[in-house]
């Protein structure tokens, strides 16, 4: 069943006026559509600054969209107020990228974890401490840390506390906004395993935002590739990694250091890595991401695209199912696959 549906979502931020005096807009999210099935993991990948985090904030109703619709469990979230908003807050939670900024420095772990329980009156007062200890155990922390302050913890431990806070309300959907990218690699693996375990135990749906392709490959069911506020390709994880369609996806995959995944074990092939890195040197994307204030006309990727041809700088491609027999039915927004 569909849990979250995002339809033509846009978020523009007003920026300084140009020389001629007209209002300029930073198009952080420029018309994206996707939906997440219950109990599945949808990953959004893309370079930094492509609008991934804005999507996270929009889905959580922390900012209001410029236009478009977000439907959660059958309800348009822009219409939520009072009790229905409270229910929504209880069903959707977020884990942020920076575990150092996402915990209140003046609150103990107990304060942080008990707050959602108190706000939603989920359990009786005398049981709150027990519940907090239960949450700590769930994320693999010692119950003794309950009286400590955030600055006494390492990044990985803080991220566990953040996850515990998100779990406190028994949410249906957790938006994980690059939860691993501020952590050491060894800690990343631990947190990723923790998320994987939670997924198996609790049937929580995830919107997983990341720029780390190997993590996405390991963790997600469906992937949306974002570029300059748009989703350029959306596919089942295996399909996408096996046969990327959009040139941007191809380049993104080639640019990432290769680690092959067999089953659930991470396995590095040393010979492979050498070969692939040599390849990727040739294949990295040339140039920088264009400014989201002055989005290139036509396909936003065309100035950097190695396969651009005549219509690319004139006609904006739409995200739709390709008719190409090689990849029938897959969603991609590229003139190569969708005849214009």
């Amino acid at each position: 069943m569909e849990l979250l549906n995002v339809n033509a979502l846009k978020k523009y931020f007003p920026v300084k006026k140009g020389f001629s005096g007209e209002q300029l807009w930073l198009k952080a999210v420029d018309g994206i559509d996707f939906s997440i099935e219950e109990d599945k993991v949808f990953a959004l990948v893309g370079e930094s600054g492509c609008g991934k985090s804005t999507v996270a904030r929009l889905v959580l109703k922390l900012t209001t969209p410029t236009s478009g619709k977000i439907v959660f469990a059958g309800k348009d979230i822009s219409e939520l107020k009072g009790d229905s908003l409270k229910t929504f807050r209880r069903s959707v939670q977020i884990v942020f990228q920076d575990p150092f900024a996402s915990l209140n420095p003046r609150k103990t772990v107990f304060d942080t974890l008990s707050e959602p329980l108190k706000i939603h009156r989920l359990i009786k007062k005398k049981n709150i401490k027990e519940a907090c200890i239960g949450l700590l155990k769930k994320v693999g922390l010692d119950p003794d840390v309950i009286r400590r302050y955030p600055h006494e913890f390492s990044g990985g431990q803080r991220q566990r506390i953040c996850i515990a806070r998100a779990l406190a309300v028994n949410p249906k959907l957790i938006v994980a906004d690059e939860p691993l990218s501020a952590l050491d690699v060894s800690i990343q693996a631990q947190i990723l395993n923790l998320l994987q375990d939670l997924r198996k135990e609790t049937k929580i749906t995830f919107l997983f935002i990341s720029h780390d392709l190997k993590v996405v490959h390991y963790f997600s069911d469906t992937v949306g590739v974002m570029y300059l506020g748009k989703i350029v390709e959306c596919a089942k994880t295996d399909d996408l990694f096996h046969k990327p369609l959009h040139p941007y996806t191809t380049i993104l995959l080639a640019a990432a250091p290769k680690i092959k995944i067999r089953g659930s074990e991470l396995e590095v092939k040393s010979g492979d890595v050498k070969l692939k890195t040599q390849n990727s040197k040739l294949k990295t994307v040339s140039g920088d991401v264009p400014s989201p204030i002055h989005v290139p006309p036509g396909c936003p990727f065309h100035p950097r695209c190695p396969k651009r041809f005549e219509p690319c700088d004139k006609i904006v491609p739409l995200l739709k199912q390709t008719l190409d027999p090689e990849a029938k039915g897959r969603l991609v927004s590229c003139h190569l696959w969708n005849p214009y």
Binding site: R90, P105, H120, E152
Partner: protein, 313 residues
């Protein structure tokens, strides 16, 4: 010549050091609250500690005034007017034969009371207006900021003079007027803190968890923006003490016979050629008080600045 330790001896020493480090580590970790970090930094700052000692002493004197003042501050003794400092009257007597030391002790009480009440009023107003202005933004913010600009554009001292001329002097009026005209700085500081803190992830997380505006403002942002408020409050006490003295000196603050450093100074001015002690001692008292609060305030500013924290364990 260096002495070489035997292998066993060296190992024993290393073990001892490790044990010691381990012990201290745990001790420090247990006390590792932010208050403790601030206190540790403040303790190292000698000037601030000197200021702190002055502040504490003034507090004690004010609290214990009835016990430690040698005379009743309002007892008139016509046989001993304008007596220089001596054994009987350590700081001399004034033109009505009242003991200057006693009057100074009671005057200190008044000064501190006015200072703290005024700062209390200005902090509460400043924090309230600053927080809603920074948190909600928009037209509310613009209105409040313009109001602050208007308040700041009026010279405070003359405003106070004008208001006192209307409502009349007296300790309560002085407190209220000083408090109501000195909240603008706090308000701007709090607003700035709110502007930067409201976008921080822990605030967004609280919002996502379902916390309401009131909870977020008071429970999450306010407690993280207390540092500049505390500093400006401590510095504000010094300012309020000076203002109160100035008003009393001009005869529109604390009215005689109630003692205050300012109105003792007025007597000193009238008798400056024959009774230096009436000017020097209250002047010194004001100087020391203001210096004490300023040093403590500056020290707190440094101690509370997280950029200067060394969180070594």
């Amino acid at each position: 010549m260096p002495t070489f330790l035997s292998h066993q001896e060296a190992e024993r020493r290393i073990e001892k050091i490790i044990a010691e480090v381990w012990k201290r580590n745990i001790k420090i970790m247990d006390n590792h609250t932010l208050t403790y970090l601030v206190w540790r930094r403040l303790r190292r700052n000698r000037l601030a500690m000197a200021g702190g000692v002055v502040v504490v002493l003034l507090f004690l004197i004010a609290l214990l005034a009835p016990l430690i003042s040698p005379y009743n501050p309002n007892d008139i003794d016509r046989k001993h007017i304008l007596e220089p400092p001596g054994l009987k009257h350590p700081l001399g007597t004034d033109d009505l034969g009242r003991d200057v030391l006693s009057r100074m002790i009671w005057g200190g009480r008044i000064s501190l009371a006015v200072g703290f009440m005024a700062v209390g009023i200005s902090s509460v107003i400043g924090m309230f207006l600053g927080s809603i202005s920074g948190y909600y933004g928009g037209w509310l913010d613009r209105v409040i900021m313009r109001f602050i600009d208007i308040m700041l554009s009026i010279p405070t001292f003359f405003l106070i003079l004008a208001v006192i001329a209307f409502i009349g002097p007296g300790i309560w009026n002085i407190m209220a007027v000083i408090g109501l005209t000195s909240w603008m700085g706090v308000s701007r500081l709090v607003r700035a803190e709110f502007l930067s803190l409201k976008e921080r992830e822990f605030v967004l997380a609280a919002k996502a968890v379902g916390a309401g505006d009131r909870r977020i403002i008071f429970n999450h942002i306010m407690i993280n923006s207390m540092a500049p408020v505390i500093v400006s409050a401590v510095l504000g006490v010094a300012g309020a003490v000076i203002l109160e003295s100035a008003l009393s000196f001009l005869g529109i603050g604390i009215l005689p016979p109630t003692a205050s450093w300012g109105n003792i100074l007025t007597l000193g001015k009238d008798n400056i050629e024959i009774a230096w002690w009436l000017s020097v001692f209250p002047g010194l008292a004001i100087l020391v008080t203001v210096m004490g609060y300023n040093l403590l305030g500056e020290g707190l500013r440094d101690a509370l600045d997280p950029r200067l924290w060394d969180v070594e364990i």
